[in-house]
């Protein structure tokens, strides 16, 4: 890929990026959130056409109008969310849309045999071609996707954060698979946040930052610390509102909290303070927020003043959650701004119904029109509506899960100001963000999660490297 560039709605998210992957090479693509990794990979997979630049495979220029074009050209992409039919068998999924036929009929034996052969080549014997996909674990489903890629004779396999949802022992298995792919002469593009596996696996690393290429180098030429610096190093021009001078009373305390995704959580949220929650994808950040809120409650441990068992108990205890995925979990997109803003108040039968206009002005919705359907709003404005929804009930504890993801710069600053303002008024605020500079700039204290446990707590203003070390584990320790 040479000189790839892409803009969405006039925002340039990618510019002049070159990426060269050789056959039989594991090529890691790293960078912070918003660095452009996913966009680059989607261009390669034919999901988005590039605005500029060219793609060549085996020396021939190609252009993809549809994911199928990319597939036929030998590019297979394995998303974090799989494209599998749970009710169908492994073999049926692998050959979906191109089932082998003999005399006009689907050749099931051939299909099963081909799938079994590929599974065998990958050393996978924990399930067979006839097993329904719905009975497979996430790791096993990933293997199905890889088998599908192999059956397509893919020359290039893109894996997007493949270990994010895997347990530790499954990660080793995946790494072995990647090695096998490599051994077959396939170029593997491996997107990851986990630095350890980048150094374990990759022959080459490409670092992206803010949509630009920072460097592309052989892994041997880099050190973990150096790589972290390349990823996060940036101008310190960003502005964050001033921190709190002192934290107030404890609003919420958890001791020994746990459920099937979290263990031994000891945590305190204080009035006036913004607590940052750091961790890699899959480390349990969102699970912790949902546990505190009561949506996926703790099953173990103590929590004061109450341990909510349901969302309604959480809301009654004065807790609010700004969810990570605002379209799927935060908003009723076809309802008006007003209806969304009043949803919590109406559902809980508490809080205020008047003064929506003032509320919308307070969250800096521009323009503060109440009757528009929220699906027509920008990401930033949508997030402000979610905020307004919680402000109607004046929560004492407000949990923000990736509050500025997919939000433009102006709205981002407004949301930051609001968070600080709320803390200043005595709310306890917790913030999850994958964007380290943001997390560090905003937080009065940072708690780092790793594999469902708290791996450390840092005071205000730690270095990004310090956070990364706690989040990623043994790397450079």
């Amino acid at each position: 890929m040479i000189g790839i560039g892409k803009s969405f709605l006039g925002v340039r998210v990618l510019g002049e990026v070159d990426l060269v992957a050789a056959a039989g090479e594991v090529h890691a693509v790293v960078g912070e959130n918003g660095a452009g990794k996913s966009t680059l990979m989607k261009i390669l997979a034919g999901v988005h056409p590039p605005d500029e630049g060219t793609i060549e495979i085996d020396g021939r220029g190609v252009s993809f109008g549809h994911p199928l074009d990319a597939q036929r050209a030998g590019v297979a992409i394995i998303h974090q969310e799989f494209n599998l039919l749970p009710e169908r068998s492994v073999a049926e999924n692998v050959f979906l849309g191109r089932e082998p036929v003999r005399r006009g009929l689907v050749d099931r034996p051939a299909m099963d045999a081909a799938t079994a052969r590929l599974l065998g080549e990958l050393g996978e014997d924990s399930f067979g071609p006839r097993d329904p996909v719905r009975h497979l674990s996430v790791a096993q489903q990933q293997v199905v996707e890889i088998v599908k890629a192999l059956s397509l004779d893919a020359r290039i396999v893109v894996m997007d954060e493949p270990t994010a949802a895997l347990a530790e022992h499954e990660v080793d298995l995946l790494h072995r698979l990647v090695r096998r792919l490599q051994g077959r002469g396939i170029a593997v593009l491996y997107i990851s946040h986990r630095l350890r596996e980048v150094f374990d696996l990759a022959d080459r690393v490409t670092v992206l930052k803010d949509g630009r290429l920072v460097t592309s180098a052989a892994t041997g030429e880099l050190t973990p610390d150096g790589l972290v610096r390349l990823m996060v190093g940036r101008d310190l021009g960003s502005y964050f509102p001033p921190r709190a001078t002192s934290a107030g009373e404890t609003r919420l305390r958890v001791t020994g909290g746990g459920n099937d995704r979290l263990r031994d959580i000891d945590l305190e949220l204080r009035a006036g303070e913004i607590l940052g929650l750091a961790g890699l994808q899959g480390s349990g950040r969102s699970a912790l927020a949902k546990a505190l809120f009561g949506a996926e409650p703790f099953t173990r441990g103590r929590m004061t003043p109450v341990r909510p068992r349901t969302v309604r108990e959480g809301i009654a205890a004065g807790i609010g959650l700004v969810t990570e995925d605002r379209k799927a979990e935060g908003l009723a997109l076809r309802q008006s701004v007003r209806d969304n803003a009043l949803l919590v108040a109406r559902a809980s039968g508490r809080g205020r119904r008047d003064g929506v206009r003032e509320l919308l002005e307070r969250v800096r919705l521009v323009p503060p029109r109440q009757d528009r359907e929220v699906r027509y709003l920008s990401g930033g404005n949508q997030q402000k509506v979610v905020l307004a929804k919680w402000l109607t009930v004046a929560p004492r504890v407000l949990l923000f899960d990736e509050p500025t993801r997919g939000v433009d710069v102006g709205a981002k600053a407004a949301i930051h100001d609001l968070m600080r303002e709320l803390a200043g008024e005595g709310a306890a605020v917790m913030m999850i963000s994958s964007e380290l500079p943001e997390l560090i700039g905003m937080s009065d204290r940072i708690v780092v999660l790793r594999e469902g446990r708290i791996s450390g707590t840092l005071p205000a203003g730690p270095s990004e490297e310090a956070v990364m070390r706690l989040a990623a584990g043994e790397v450079a320790a």
Binding site: N83, P86, E87, G97, V106
Partner: protein, 333 residues
């Protein structure tokens, strides 16, 4: 892999293959057993030739429609127009035959033509005009009903003796109509399990986006499915015309073939949302309903009581399936 994982997997696989289909056939066996006991206690004979034939006769028409409905539901659609189409095709058949043996071939061709046309309209309205299948097929059903009611006040046309054999003859204990049903069901089973088309029906019903991204032409699958579903309704129309000796404008709606066929499909374990289930379950569902009927007839239970039991059985069955899939999902999460 741990040593004890294998047997666990085997049993799960077995449960998955058997699944609701096994449940419905177990229920069928249970109903036959209980029915036999009840009738025997009542001093009657349940498993008589007459009864066995009766059950098959009763289920044939509904069974054929339900096979077509299975295809539609598996593909994530449904067809509310079948009852009206049955009435229409019974009339088309009887009118074309007009009592002459020479008209039979033409009549079958005409019925096929009408059915294909209706199926095409259903499929095109759903895929190209993007009208919800519920409204699309309800609308097409109303259009057919209007035309039929406008043209006919009562039975019309005449079916020649030769063709009436289809309705009443039997070979040993097996009525010809049941053989026709078996042929239709086997064809559909064959399509679903052995052809690319069948695989794609499951894919489209399971997840349209996944199917599309895998290169399946989803619209075409839905259209073909509706054509096949309508053809099944047409075959049922032919069968009913053979039984009645004429075409009748209300034969489809009186039999409640639209909702009953959907109920039978769902009773057979096919998910209303599509992508899961099959023809075998539907056959079991239809037989279950027919055996229930037969038991009640033997016991001379009020016919309205049958409806009550029928409604309860359908809801309970689906509730049981919902629980089972819920447990599986829960384990996966």
């Amino acid at each position: 892999m741990t040593p004890d994982a294998l047997p666990a997997r085997r049993s799960r696989r077995f449960a998955a293959v058997a699944g609701p289909t096994r449940v419905v056939f177990l229920a069928l066996a249970g109903v036959i057993l209980i029915g036999w006991a009840l009738v025997a206690a009542d001093g009657g004979q349940f498993l008589t030739l007459e009864n066995v034939v009766g059950v098959q006769q009763r289920s044939a028409a509904l069974g054929i429609v339900a096979v077509g409905q299975t295809l539609a539901i598996l593909a994530g659609s449904l067809d509310l127009s079948v009852a009206y189409l049955i009435s229409l095709t019974s009339l088309v058949a009887a009118e074309t035959m007009a009592g002459q043996d020479s008209g039979i071939v033409a009549a079958i061709a005409a019925v096929a033509g009408v059915s294909v046309l209706v199926g095409l309209v259903n499929g095109l309205v759903i895929t190209k005009l993007r009208v919800h299948a519920f409204i699309a097929t309800l609308g097409v059903g109303l259009i057919i009903k209007g035309i039929v009611d406008h043209l006919y006040d009562g039975p019309a046309g005449r079916v020649p003796e030769t063709f009436q054999h289809l309705g009443y003859d039997r070979i040993g204990p097996v009525p010809v109509s049941a053989l026709l049903w078996a042929a239709v069901a086997l064809t559909a089973w064959f399509l679903l399990s052995r052809t690319r088309y069948g695989y794609r029906v499951y894919a489209v019903g399971g997840d349209v986006e996944v199917a599309r991204l895998s290169g399946v032409r989803t619209d075409r699958v839905v259209i073909v499915t509706h054509v096949l579903c309508s053809l099944c309704a047409g075959i049922a129309g032919l069968l009913l015309a053979a039984r009645l000796g004429a075409g009748a404008p209300t034969v489809g709606t009186d039999g409640g073939y639209d909702l009953e066929s959907i109920a039978a499909v769902v009773l057979g374990g096919t998910a209303l949302a599509g992508g899961r289930g099959g023809v075998a379950g539907t056959v079991g569902g239809v037989l279950l309903l027919a055996v229930l009927d037969s038991v009640f007839n033997q016991l001379e239970v009020n016919s309205f009581f049958k409806d009550v039991v029928r409604g309860v059985v359908i809801v309970v069955a689906v509730a049981v399936y919902a629980r089972r899939t819920g447990l599986l999902r829960g384990r996966r999460a």
